[in-house]
Symmetry: C2
Subunit: 462 residues, 2 copies
């Protein structure tokens, strides 16, 4: 029997045991398997052999134990919104769907913490928290699951003020490759107790363990939220405004850049009539006096950079309409070429290099004749392009990938990273070593030590 | 030849090679060796066999390579201010003194980052930064080295506002057990590129690698700094004021509690005449209007909790005198019983449990008839007692250790940690598993994978 056949037999044996144990919650139908491997991007879906819908940490531990006995890969699945192929099953195996583990376990408003199951989405969590005066700020756009957000070290629009998932996961529980569930940290706000397994698991993309529970930091809903919008004559001018805002230490809560192409897409998709210019969406959080102070300071920077008058409003409905458009920018951009697929990029550079990096990228887009709108969490030096490609056209796909590669190279050469928030997954593996060199060897030593049979989401990161 | 003899012979061989290579920078004199193993606490010093003064990352790589070939332990040494025996050499070996690697490598004011050698101290760094309008906020009291602060995941008085070393180290370089130097991260503000080796090394107490360089986040010197002091009728009332301050989301920069015994000690040591009551030292950072707003809000909380009028000042000299007294509190407390040694504790609990934890600890001190002043970074739920013990008196030492054990148990039972900022070292090993259970097994797997011969600061954490 070949190694491949032996592997298939093992996976099949694990499946039989799981089918007996989980009944209807064990599924092997083609459409369910395909749903669990969709990638939202140009990466081809690689469906798992089966999907199990987990209801508890004990379920997850049992699944991992059975799979470990049979060297069968496990792939955790939350909301399915990752962008670098993290959900694919290149070696087959079992997708552990935690979307039904979507409960809040306990809120400690007095400690500003909440403990949740991994399948709850960020929007559902914030609906739950509505009456507490608290909220969870991390907002990657998609209504992602908290387990998935932790696994990819997600961030998004609010990160410039509130940090990323690395900063907002206080501790977590995870089932490791040997089937044991561990608790990585106490609920204390800070600790020096041993290795920081919390932050080792955050961003590990399911390759070290399956998250079964998370304790998150919460923040008080600001007394005053003021939002606004302004236009700039050029991308460079907009980047300069972002750079100055950060350098002056204005505690801005959101500072998002959309280029003219993206604004055109948003106008069409979200029924807006914004000027088709490089545009910034802004938000300030604080007391009434501090948000007013911040708005005035920011307005001065915008003027200095040649931007339009900064229009701001405290009206919630108006603000929400703008931010919904921002969050729908992925779908809006796809609407520019509905039949196409997307090559998504995710560069992040030290903010001093932001204007140069974005400008060179714009020039590259133009020279490469790509349709590739730009959106960016520019306060963090992080931006994305979404290159629309016809997958049937090999030349076009190759051009888009080459462009994405040049952007990774450019960001790395500027002291930045090939991924600010999407993760490495399958799509960025080639760049990880360019960025971090021999560090990757030590990551692999950790992977091999904690998952010697390589069953935890294999084929990702490395 | 016994294993012990073989080990000694190996260490001796490594020493010979290092002596040839480093000449005068290789030292084996008793007093230098003892200085490199002082513990500032009851823990007995365990001197290394030799000390090498490193001048560069290449020096460190060479030392580690030579030591790795001979299975000779290496113990990194910065300023020597750790409190849990992290500098001891229980298995002998070579202390790598990095105190002469104390240069700033580059400042990027526009990115709010600085890259430094590991031996620079926090005060020296801030002197260097004086003209940039920026500062590095982490302040553990002692003038510790940045490498040491990273290694123990230090924090201190400003952490309530600016976070701990885990939040302020953007990336680092370290020589690993095989002698290779790695770079853990780019200079981008955020990243999702692979495992978070930065935060794995931060807090690893030299057991995984020797830090050779750190890139740190800087913060703008606040336009306005306002500080003050207030007294409370009881420890519980003071803790309640801290709890409310955090829950109301006041972005306080420092909120330090000293009990009446500690105030008595500070009055004597720092020539002050503060009322001998539970006392809070406070600081606000922001714009003039925001610090004023915060001061007023805080003053109301103090009143509600029965505290004295909150006296505040923007005068720098007055503020500095108070904070110097706070930072000297360790030496002030030792002055209460000059011939004694110290058993230092370091509990941290969710802030909702702070008042109860501190009160029960006070009752325990009283019942145990110990001299043990309390100081705390109470905004983080973190506090210390310093139990003064006569090491000649075994009963007394046993009582102090038992008290410290009960405090760890109490903090853990309340969902907290046995160490908020000092680390595990030698002193807290017994509590790590109580706190984190099977997680410790996975920490050990990482340790074994990255340092299979256990040469990196052996005998610490595990």
């Amino acid at each position: 029997m070949s190694a491949k056949m032996a592997k298939e037999r093992n996976i099949s044996l694990a499946g039989e045991i799981l089918r007996q144990r989980f009944g209807e919650r064990f599924q092997t139908g083609a459409s369910i398997r395909e749903q669990h491997a969709h990638t939202l991007t140009y990466l081809a879906g690689q469906p798992p052999d089966a999907v199990v819908f987990a209801h508890s940490a004990d379920d997850i531990a049992l699944i991992v134990q059975v799979c470990a006995e049979h060297s069968c890969p496990v792939i955790p699945f939350g909301a399915g919104s990752s962008l670098e192929g993290q959900l694919n099953a290149p070696l087959g195996g079992v997708s552990i769907d935690v979307s039904q583990m979507n409960q809040v376990i306990e809120v400690h408003p007095e400690d500003l913490t909440v403990t949740v199951q991994p399948g709850i989405t960020r929007k559902a969590l914030n609906v739950y928290l509505r009456d507490t005066g608290l909220f969870f700020p991390i907002d990657p756009g998609a209504d992602a699951s908290l387990g998935g957000m932790a696994s990819t070290r997600a961030s998004g629009t609010n990160a410039v003020r509130y940090g990323t998932m690395k900063d907002n996961v206080l501790g977590l529980r995870a089932v490791m490759a040997d089937g044991r569930e561990i608790n990585t940290a106490s609920r204390a706000k800070k600790t020096s107790a041993g290795y920081d397994l919390t932050r080792l698991l955050v961003g590990s993309e399911g390759t070290l363990g399956v998250i079964t529970e998370l304790t998150l930091k919460l923040h008080g809903v600001p007394e005053s939220i003021v939002g606004g919008i302004c236009h700039f004559p050029s991308i460079a001018a907009a980047c300069d405004a972002a750079i100055q805002t950060i350098q002056y230490g204005i505690p801005i809560a959101r500072i998002e850049l959309l280029d003219a192409v993206q604004i055109r897409a948003c106008n069409a998709y979200s029924k807006l009539d914004l000027a088709e210019k490089p545009t910034m969406f802004i938000e300030f959080h604080g007391t009434e006096s501090s948000t007013q102070e911040q708005s005035v300071q920011f307005g001065e920077i915008v003027n200095d950079c040649g931007g339009s008058d900064f229009q701001w409003t405290a009206d919630e409905a108006e603000r929400n309409k703008l931010w919904q458009a921002r969050h729908d920018s992925y779908w809006a951009a796809r609407g520019l070429r509905p039949s196409a697929d997307a090559v998504v990029t995710d560069a992040c550079v030290p903010i001093s290099r932001l204007a140069q990096c974005v400008e060179e990228t714009c020039a590259d887009i133009e020279q490469s004749r790509l349709i590739a709108p730009i959106v960016g969490h520019v306060g963090d030096g992080n931006f994305h392009t979404l290159v629309l490609v016809d997958l049937e056209n090999e030349t076009e796909l190759a051009q888009a990938k080459a462009f994405a590669g040049r952007l990774s190279d450019r960001a790395i050469a500027m002291g930045g990273t090939c991924t600010g928030e999407h993760g490495i997954g399958q799509g960025k593996k080639a760049y990880l070593r360019d960025e971090l060199g021999d560090s990757v060897d030590f990551m692999m030593m950790i992977k091999n030590a904690l998952d010697p049979d390589n069953i935890m989401n294999p084929g990702k990161i490395f």
